[in-house]
Protein backbone atom coordinates (compact mmCIF):
# COMPACT_ATOMS: atom_id res chain seq x y z
CA UNK A 1 0.00 0.00 0.00
CA UNK A 2 1.20 3.49 -0.77
CA UNK A 3 1.44 5.91 2.16
CA UNK A 4 -0.91 8.79 2.88
CA UNK A 5 0.53 12.09 4.01
CA UNK A 6 0.28 11.19 7.68
CA UNK A 7 2.10 7.94 7.06
CA UNK A 8 4.86 9.77 5.20
CA UNK A 9 5.10 12.19 8.12
CA UNK A 10 5.37 9.26 10.54
CA UNK A 11 8.09 7.71 8.39
CA UNK A 12 10.08 10.95 8.49
CA UNK A 13 9.55 11.32 12.23
CA UNK A 14 11.18 7.92 12.76
CA UNK A 15 14.33 9.14 11.02
CA UNK A 16 14.76 12.28 13.09
CA UNK A 17 17.40 11.70 15.77
CA UNK A 18 16.57 12.25 19.42
CA UNK A 19 17.31 15.78 20.56
CA UNK A 20 17.69 17.09 17.01
CA UNK A 21 17.01 20.73 16.11
CA UNK A 22 14.52 20.65 13.28
CA UNK A 23 12.67 23.07 11.02
CA UNK A 24 9.46 21.80 9.48
CA UNK A 25 8.51 23.69 6.32
CA UNK A 26 5.12 25.27 5.79
CA UNK A 27 2.35 22.87 4.76
CA UNK A 28 2.57 19.09 4.93
CA UNK A 29 5.98 18.93 6.67
CA UNK A 30 4.36 20.39 9.79
CA UNK A 31 2.54 17.04 10.13
CA UNK A 32 5.84 15.47 11.14
CA UNK A 33 5.55 17.13 14.56
CA UNK A 34 2.45 15.04 15.34
CA UNK A 35 4.42 11.83 14.91
CA UNK A 36 7.45 12.61 17.07
CA UNK A 37 7.46 10.58 20.30
CA UNK A 38 6.64 12.63 23.39
CA UNK A 39 10.13 12.00 24.75
CA UNK A 40 11.99 12.60 21.48
CA UNK A 41 13.60 15.76 22.80
CA UNK A 42 13.36 17.18 19.27
CA UNK A 43 13.47 20.98 19.32
CA UNK A 44 11.46 22.72 16.62
CA UNK A 45 12.69 25.93 15.04
CA UNK A 46 10.48 28.41 13.28
CA UNK A 47 12.32 30.86 11.07
CA UNK A 48 10.30 33.84 12.31
CA UNK A 49 12.39 33.73 15.45
CA UNK A 50 11.81 30.91 17.91
CA UNK A 51 13.27 27.64 19.15
CA UNK A 52 11.29 24.95 20.98
CA UNK A 53 7.99 25.82 19.42
CA UNK A 54 5.05 23.82 20.74
CA UNK A 55 1.90 22.56 19.03
CA UNK A 56 -0.67 24.77 17.32
CA UNK A 57 -2.56 27.00 19.74
CA UNK A 58 -6.29 26.62 20.24
CA UNK A 59 -8.95 28.58 22.10
CA UNK A 60 -7.63 30.90 24.77
CA UNK A 61 -4.04 29.97 24.00
CA UNK A 62 -4.15 31.78 20.67
CA UNK A 63 -1.83 34.79 20.82
CA UNK A 64 -1.38 36.90 17.69
CA UNK A 65 2.22 37.57 18.75
CA UNK A 66 3.08 33.86 18.76
CA UNK A 67 2.88 32.36 15.29
CA UNK A 68 4.89 30.01 13.14
CA UNK A 69 6.35 30.64 9.70
CA UNK A 70 3.01 29.70 8.18
CA UNK A 71 1.45 32.45 10.34
CA UNK A 72 -0.51 29.88 12.33
CA UNK A 73 -0.84 30.51 16.11
CA UNK A 74 1.41 28.17 18.05
CA UNK A 75 2.55 27.67 21.64
CA UNK A 76 5.85 27.72 23.49
CA UNK A 77 7.44 24.85 25.39
CA UNK A 78 9.72 25.09 28.45
CA UNK A 79 13.21 26.00 27.25
CA UNK A 80 12.06 28.02 24.28
CA UNK A 81 13.91 31.11 23.12
CA UNK A 82 12.98 34.06 20.92
CA UNK A 83 15.36 35.92 18.61
CA UNK A 84 15.14 38.37 15.76
CA UNK A 85 15.09 37.61 12.06
CA UNK A 86 18.76 38.23 11.32
CA UNK A 87 19.74 35.94 14.20
CA UNK A 88 17.21 33.31 13.12
CA UNK A 89 18.46 33.20 9.56
CA UNK A 90 22.08 33.27 10.75
CA UNK A 91 21.19 30.11 12.69
CA UNK A 92 19.77 28.53 9.53
CA UNK A 93 22.45 29.70 7.11
CA UNK A 94 25.21 28.79 9.52
CA UNK A 95 24.34 25.10 9.44
CA UNK A 96 23.11 24.77 13.00
CA UNK A 97 19.82 23.00 12.31
CA UNK A 98 20.20 19.23 12.19
CA UNK A 99 17.31 18.55 9.84
CA UNK A 100 14.91 20.57 7.74
CA UNK A 101 11.84 18.95 6.15
CA UNK A 102 10.51 20.70 3.06
CA UNK A 103 7.85 20.16 0.47
CA UNK A 104 8.83 20.16 -3.21
CA UNK A 105 7.49 20.55 -6.72
CA UNK A 106 10.53 18.75 -8.10
CA UNK A 107 13.80 17.25 -6.89
CA UNK A 108 16.56 16.37 -9.31
CA UNK A 109 18.71 13.25 -9.22
CA UNK A 110 21.61 15.26 -7.84
CA UNK A 111 19.51 16.87 -5.13
CA UNK A 112 18.51 20.17 -6.70
CA UNK A 113 15.30 21.43 -5.11
CA UNK A 114 12.43 23.33 -6.76
CA UNK A 115 9.74 24.29 -4.31
CA UNK A 116 8.97 27.98 -4.55
CA UNK A 117 7.71 28.73 -8.03
CA UNK A 118 6.02 26.75 -10.76
CA UNK A 119 7.49 28.97 -13.43
CA UNK A 120 4.03 30.02 -14.57
CA UNK A 121 4.55 33.40 -16.25
CA UNK A 122 1.61 35.07 -14.50
CA UNK A 123 2.46 33.82 -11.01
CA UNK A 124 3.55 36.42 -8.48
CA UNK A 125 6.95 35.28 -7.25
CA UNK A 126 7.22 34.69 -3.50
CA UNK A 127 10.07 32.82 -1.88
CA UNK A 128 9.92 33.50 1.86
CA UNK A 129 12.58 31.54 3.69
CA UNK A 130 12.64 28.56 1.33
CA UNK A 131 16.06 29.28 -0.17
CA UNK A 132 17.64 29.91 3.22
CA UNK A 133 16.23 26.67 4.59
CA UNK A 134 17.30 24.70 1.53
CA UNK A 135 20.96 25.59 1.85
CA UNK A 136 21.19 25.95 5.59
CA UNK A 137 20.30 22.78 7.47
CA UNK A 138 22.78 19.93 7.85
CA UNK A 139 20.33 17.55 6.21
CA UNK A 140 17.38 18.36 3.97
CA UNK A 141 14.52 15.87 3.85
CA UNK A 142 11.90 16.41 1.17
CA UNK A 143 8.31 15.27 1.76
CA UNK A 144 6.17 14.96 -1.36
CA UNK A 145 4.07 12.67 -3.49
CA UNK A 146 6.29 10.98 -6.03
CA UNK A 147 4.04 11.87 -8.95
CA UNK A 148 2.17 15.07 -9.72
CA UNK A 149 -1.58 14.94 -10.25
CA UNK A 150 -1.02 14.64 -13.99
CA UNK A 151 1.15 11.59 -13.42
CA UNK A 152 4.53 13.15 -14.18
CA UNK A 153 7.34 12.26 -11.76
CA UNK A 154 8.54 14.87 -9.33
CA UNK A 155 11.90 13.14 -8.98
CA UNK A 156 13.50 14.23 -12.23
CA UNK A 157 16.83 14.18 -14.08
CA UNK A 158 16.88 18.00 -14.08
CA UNK A 159 14.37 20.36 -12.50
CA UNK A 160 12.32 22.28 -15.05
CA UNK A 161 10.88 24.60 -12.42
CA UNK A 162 12.99 27.47 -11.04
CA UNK A 163 15.44 26.20 -8.42
CA UNK A 164 15.30 26.86 -4.70
CA UNK A 165 18.70 25.36 -3.99
CA UNK A 166 21.41 23.44 -5.79
CA UNK A 167 22.42 19.93 -4.70
CA UNK A 168 20.92 20.41 -1.26
CA UNK A 169 18.46 17.51 -0.82
CA UNK A 170 19.64 14.45 1.10
CA UNK A 171 16.50 12.34 1.24
CA UNK A 172 13.09 12.22 -0.40
CA UNK A 173 10.17 10.72 1.47
CA UNK A 174 7.22 9.97 -0.81
CA UNK A 175 4.00 7.97 -0.82
CA UNK A 176 5.65 5.24 -2.91
CA UNK A 177 9.27 5.11 -1.79
CA UNK A 178 12.01 6.67 0.26
CA UNK A 179 15.09 7.81 -1.66
CA UNK A 180 18.58 8.69 -0.53
CA UNK A 181 20.29 11.22 -2.80
CA UNK A 182 23.86 9.99 -2.59
CA UNK A 183 26.73 11.72 -4.38
CA UNK A 184 26.89 8.98 -7.00
CA UNK A 185 23.39 7.55 -7.08
CA UNK A 186 19.74 7.82 -6.17
CA UNK A 187 19.20 4.95 -3.77
CA UNK A 188 15.78 3.48 -3.04
CA UNK A 189 15.75 2.64 0.62
CA UNK A 190 12.22 1.25 0.77
CA UNK A 191 9.11 1.07 -1.35
CA UNK A 192 5.44 1.17 -0.42
CA UNK A 193 2.98 -0.79 -2.55
CA UNK A 194 5.16 -0.72 -5.64
CA UNK A 195 8.00 -2.92 -6.78
CA UNK A 196 11.49 -1.64 -7.40
CA UNK A 197 11.14 -2.69 -11.03
CA UNK A 198 7.93 -0.75 -11.50
CA UNK A 199 9.44 2.28 -9.78
CA UNK A 200 12.46 2.14 -12.09
CA UNK A 201 10.10 1.85 -15.04
CA UNK A 202 8.03 4.91 -14.09
CA UNK A 203 10.96 7.24 -13.31
CA UNK A 204 13.35 8.90 -15.78
CA UNK A 205 16.05 8.85 -13.13
CA UNK A 206 18.37 5.87 -12.70
CA UNK A 207 17.80 4.35 -9.27
CA UNK A 208 19.68 1.82 -7.20
CA UNK A 209 18.42 -0.58 -4.56
CA UNK A 210 19.53 0.12 -1.00
CA UNK A 211 21.03 -3.27 -0.36
CA UNK A 212 23.77 -2.66 -2.86
CA UNK A 213 24.22 1.07 -2.60
CA UNK A 214 23.64 2.28 0.94
CA UNK A 215 27.00 3.12 2.45
CA UNK A 216 28.49 5.07 5.32
CA UNK A 217 29.06 7.82 2.78
CA UNK A 218 25.34 8.35 2.30
CA UNK A 219 24.24 11.86 3.02
Amino acid sequence: MSLDKNQIAARIARDIPRGAYVNLGIGQPTLVADHLPADSGVVLHTENGMLNMGPAATGDDIDPDLINAGKIPVTELPGSAYFHHADSFAMMRGGHLDVCVLGAFQVSARGDLANWHTGAPDAIPAVGGAMDLAIGARRIFVMMTLFAKDGTPKLVPECTYPLTGVGCVNRIYTDLATFLINPDAVVVRETFGISFAELAERLDVPITAAMTAASPGSR
Binding site: D65, K71, Y82, A86, I124, V127
Partner: protein, 219 residues
Protein backbone atom coordinates in the same frame (compact mmCIF):
# COMPACT_ATOMS: atom_id res chain seq x y z
CA UNK B 1 20.36 61.36 20.56
CA UNK B 2 17.98 59.64 22.95
CA UNK B 3 14.49 58.96 21.66
CA UNK B 4 11.60 61.39 21.73
CA UNK B 5 8.37 60.13 23.23
CA UNK B 6 5.62 61.33 20.90
CA UNK B 7 2.04 62.09 21.88
CA UNK B 8 0.53 60.96 18.59
CA UNK B 9 1.34 58.66 15.72
CA UNK B 10 1.11 61.69 13.43
CA UNK B 11 3.92 63.36 15.36
CA UNK B 12 5.90 60.12 15.21
CA UNK B 13 5.87 59.94 11.40
CA UNK B 14 6.13 63.68 10.71
CA UNK B 15 8.64 64.65 8.06
CA UNK B 16 8.78 61.48 5.98
CA UNK B 17 9.66 62.69 2.51
CA UNK B 18 8.35 61.65 -0.88
CA UNK B 19 10.62 59.06 -2.46
CA UNK B 20 11.78 57.63 0.87
CA UNK B 21 12.69 54.02 1.46
CA UNK B 22 10.57 52.86 4.39
CA UNK B 23 11.35 49.68 6.31
CA UNK B 24 8.15 48.28 7.79
CA UNK B 25 8.41 45.68 10.54
CA UNK B 26 6.25 42.66 11.06
CA UNK B 27 5.84 39.13 9.84
CA UNK B 28 2.29 39.03 8.63
CA UNK B 29 0.45 41.02 11.31
CA UNK B 30 2.77 40.03 14.20
CA UNK B 31 4.92 43.06 14.95
CA UNK B 32 3.28 45.12 12.20
CA UNK B 33 3.17 48.80 13.28
CA UNK B 34 -0.37 49.35 12.00
CA UNK B 35 -0.88 52.70 13.70
CA UNK B 36 2.32 54.10 12.24
CA UNK B 37 1.41 52.92 8.76
CA UNK B 38 -2.02 54.49 9.14
CA UNK B 39 -0.36 57.72 10.25
CA UNK B 40 1.95 57.57 7.23
CA UNK B 41 -1.10 57.32 5.00
CA UNK B 42 -2.48 60.44 6.67
CA UNK B 43 0.89 62.16 6.43
CA UNK B 44 0.79 61.71 2.67
CA UNK B 45 4.35 60.78 1.64
CA UNK B 46 4.34 59.15 -1.78
CA UNK B 47 6.61 57.48 -4.33
CA UNK B 48 7.83 55.27 -1.50
CA UNK B 49 9.92 52.13 -1.62
CA UNK B 50 8.65 49.78 1.07
CA UNK B 51 10.85 47.03 2.51
CA UNK B 52 8.88 44.48 4.49
CA UNK B 53 8.61 40.72 4.68
CA UNK B 54 5.14 40.69 3.11
CA UNK B 55 3.27 43.07 0.85
CA UNK B 56 0.22 43.76 2.96
CA UNK B 57 -2.65 41.73 4.36
CA UNK B 58 -6.34 42.44 3.90
CA UNK B 59 -7.27 46.09 3.43
CA UNK B 60 -5.57 47.75 6.38
CA UNK B 61 -2.04 48.80 7.32
CA UNK B 62 0.49 48.25 4.56
CA UNK B 63 -2.25 47.10 2.17
CA UNK B 64 -4.05 50.42 2.67
CA UNK B 65 -0.83 52.34 1.95
CA UNK B 66 -0.46 50.37 -1.27
CA UNK B 67 -4.10 50.88 -2.18
CA UNK B 68 -3.63 54.65 -1.92
CA UNK B 69 -0.97 54.46 -4.63
CA UNK B 70 1.80 55.76 -2.39
CA UNK B 71 4.22 52.94 -3.03
CA UNK B 72 6.38 52.75 -6.13
CA UNK B 73 8.25 49.59 -5.24
CA UNK B 74 8.06 46.76 -2.74
CA UNK B 75 11.14 44.80 -1.62
CA UNK B 76 9.98 41.70 0.22
CA UNK B 77 10.35 37.95 0.49
CA UNK B 78 6.75 36.84 0.30
CA UNK B 79 4.20 39.14 -1.35
CA UNK B 80 1.70 36.43 -2.30
CA UNK B 81 -0.62 35.45 0.52
CA UNK B 82 -4.25 34.45 0.73
CA UNK B 83 -5.18 37.99 1.71
CA UNK B 84 -2.74 40.02 -0.40
CA UNK B 85 -5.35 41.04 -2.97
CA UNK B 86 -4.37 44.72 -2.89
CA UNK B 87 -0.77 44.01 -3.84
CA UNK B 88 -1.79 41.30 -6.30
CA UNK B 89 -4.08 43.70 -8.15
CA UNK B 90 -1.49 46.47 -8.37
CA UNK B 91 1.19 44.03 -9.48
CA UNK B 92 -0.92 42.47 -12.21
CA UNK B 93 -1.91 45.93 -13.40
CA UNK B 94 1.79 46.86 -13.66
CA UNK B 95 1.33 49.63 -11.12
CA UNK B 96 3.96 48.51 -8.64
CA UNK B 97 7.51 47.29 -8.89
CA UNK B 98 8.52 44.13 -7.00
CA UNK B 99 11.92 42.89 -5.85
CA UNK B 100 11.72 39.47 -4.26
CA UNK B 101 14.58 38.74 -1.86
CA UNK B 102 15.05 35.50 0.05
CA UNK B 103 13.98 36.18 3.62
CA UNK B 104 17.40 35.58 5.16
CA UNK B 105 19.16 37.77 2.62
CA UNK B 106 16.55 40.45 3.27
CA UNK B 107 17.29 40.36 7.01
CA UNK B 108 21.05 40.11 6.52
CA UNK B 109 21.16 42.96 3.99
CA UNK B 110 19.47 45.24 6.51
CA UNK B 111 21.76 43.95 9.24
CA UNK B 112 24.73 44.83 7.01
CA UNK B 113 23.40 48.36 6.55
CA UNK B 114 23.11 48.77 10.29
CA UNK B 115 26.47 47.16 11.01
CA UNK B 116 28.57 49.14 8.53
CA UNK B 117 29.30 46.11 6.34
CA UNK B 118 29.83 47.12 2.71
CA UNK B 119 28.68 43.82 1.21
CA UNK B 120 28.75 40.14 2.08
CA UNK B 121 28.92 36.76 0.40
CA UNK B 122 25.77 34.71 1.05
CA UNK B 123 25.18 31.09 0.07
CA UNK B 124 21.43 31.67 -0.15
CA UNK B 125 19.89 31.76 -3.61
CA UNK B 126 23.00 30.63 -5.47
CA UNK B 127 22.03 29.00 -8.76
CA UNK B 128 18.45 30.31 -8.59
CA UNK B 129 16.67 32.98 -10.62
CA UNK B 130 16.67 35.35 -7.64
CA UNK B 131 20.43 35.89 -7.80
CA UNK B 132 20.80 35.92 -11.58
CA UNK B 133 23.38 38.45 -12.73
CA UNK B 134 24.82 38.91 -9.27
CA UNK B 135 28.54 38.51 -8.58
CA UNK B 136 29.46 35.07 -7.30
CA UNK B 137 32.61 33.68 -5.77
CA UNK B 138 33.81 30.29 -4.67
CA UNK B 139 35.19 30.38 -1.13
CA UNK B 140 36.51 27.23 0.50
CA UNK B 141 34.75 25.04 -2.06
CA UNK B 142 31.31 26.62 -1.76
CA UNK B 143 29.68 29.17 -4.06
CA UNK B 144 28.41 32.43 -2.62
CA UNK B 145 26.64 35.44 -4.10
CA UNK B 146 27.57 39.01 -3.21
CA UNK B 147 24.74 40.89 -1.50
CA UNK B 148 24.62 44.60 -0.72
CA UNK B 149 23.09 46.46 2.24
CA UNK B 150 19.48 47.64 2.24
CA UNK B 151 19.21 50.91 4.12
CA UNK B 152 16.03 52.75 4.95
CA UNK B 153 15.42 56.46 5.24
CA UNK B 154 12.78 55.52 7.78
CA UNK B 155 11.94 52.40 9.78
CA UNK B 156 8.50 51.86 11.26
CA UNK B 157 8.51 49.05 13.77
CA UNK B 158 6.28 47.52 16.40
CA UNK B 159 7.60 46.64 19.85
CA UNK B 160 6.13 45.72 23.20
CA UNK B 161 7.61 48.09 25.77
CA UNK B 162 9.85 51.13 25.61
CA UNK B 163 11.42 53.08 28.42
CA UNK B 164 11.68 56.87 28.19
CA UNK B 165 15.11 56.66 26.57
CA UNK B 166 13.85 54.39 23.80
CA UNK B 167 15.20 51.02 24.95
CA UNK B 168 12.88 48.40 23.48
CA UNK B 169 11.72 44.90 24.28
CA UNK B 170 9.48 42.82 22.05
CA UNK B 171 6.94 40.09 22.63
CA UNK B 172 7.36 36.51 21.38
CA UNK B 173 7.55 36.11 17.58
CA UNK B 174 6.41 39.72 17.09
CA UNK B 175 10.10 40.52 17.53
CA UNK B 176 10.96 39.33 13.99
CA UNK B 177 12.32 42.17 11.79
CA UNK B 178 12.01 45.00 14.33
CA UNK B 179 15.47 44.82 15.92
CA UNK B 180 17.20 44.56 12.53
CA UNK B 181 15.25 47.37 10.90
CA UNK B 182 15.93 49.60 13.92
CA UNK B 183 19.65 49.46 13.09
CA UNK B 184 19.23 50.13 9.38
CA UNK B 185 17.37 53.41 8.97
CA UNK B 186 18.04 57.11 9.39
CA UNK B 187 14.81 57.75 11.30
CA UNK B 188 13.56 54.91 13.49
CA UNK B 189 10.01 55.10 14.82
CA UNK B 190 8.63 52.52 17.24
CA UNK B 191 5.01 51.89 18.08
CA UNK B 192 4.79 50.22 21.49
CA UNK B 193 2.07 48.86 23.75
CA UNK B 194 3.49 50.41 26.87
CA UNK B 195 5.97 53.10 27.90
CA UNK B 196 7.71 52.48 31.21
CA UNK B 197 10.03 54.58 33.33
CA UNK B 198 13.71 54.49 32.48
CA UNK B 199 15.28 51.84 34.70
CA UNK B 200 12.21 49.59 34.62
CA UNK B 201 13.56 47.35 31.85
CA UNK B 202 16.14 44.70 32.72
CA UNK B 203 19.39 45.85 31.04
CA UNK B 204 20.21 42.18 30.33
CA UNK B 205 16.97 41.77 28.38
CA UNK B 206 16.87 44.96 26.31
CA UNK B 207 16.70 43.85 22.67
CA UNK B 208 16.96 47.19 20.87
CA UNK B 209 19.15 49.64 22.79
CA UNK B 210 17.96 53.24 22.79
CA UNK B 211 20.77 54.36 20.49
CA UNK B 212 18.81 52.96 17.55
CA UNK B 213 15.47 54.58 18.34
CA UNK B 214 14.47 58.13 17.41
CA UNK B 215 10.77 58.34 18.19
CA UNK B 216 8.39 56.25 20.27
CA UNK B 217 4.62 56.39 20.45
CA UNK B 218 2.21 54.33 22.48
CA UNK B 219 -0.50 52.88 20.28
Amino acid sequence: MTARICETAAEAVAGVEDGSTVLVGGFGMAGMPVRLVDALIEQGAKDLTVVSNNAGNGDTGLAALLAKGRVRKVICSFPRQTDSWVFDGLYRAGKIELEVVPQGNLAERMRAAGAGIGAFFSPTGVGTPLTEGKETREIDGRTYVLEYPIRGDVALIGAYRSDRMGNLVYRKTARNFGPVMATAAGLVVAQVSEIVETGALDPEAVVTPSIYVDRVVRA
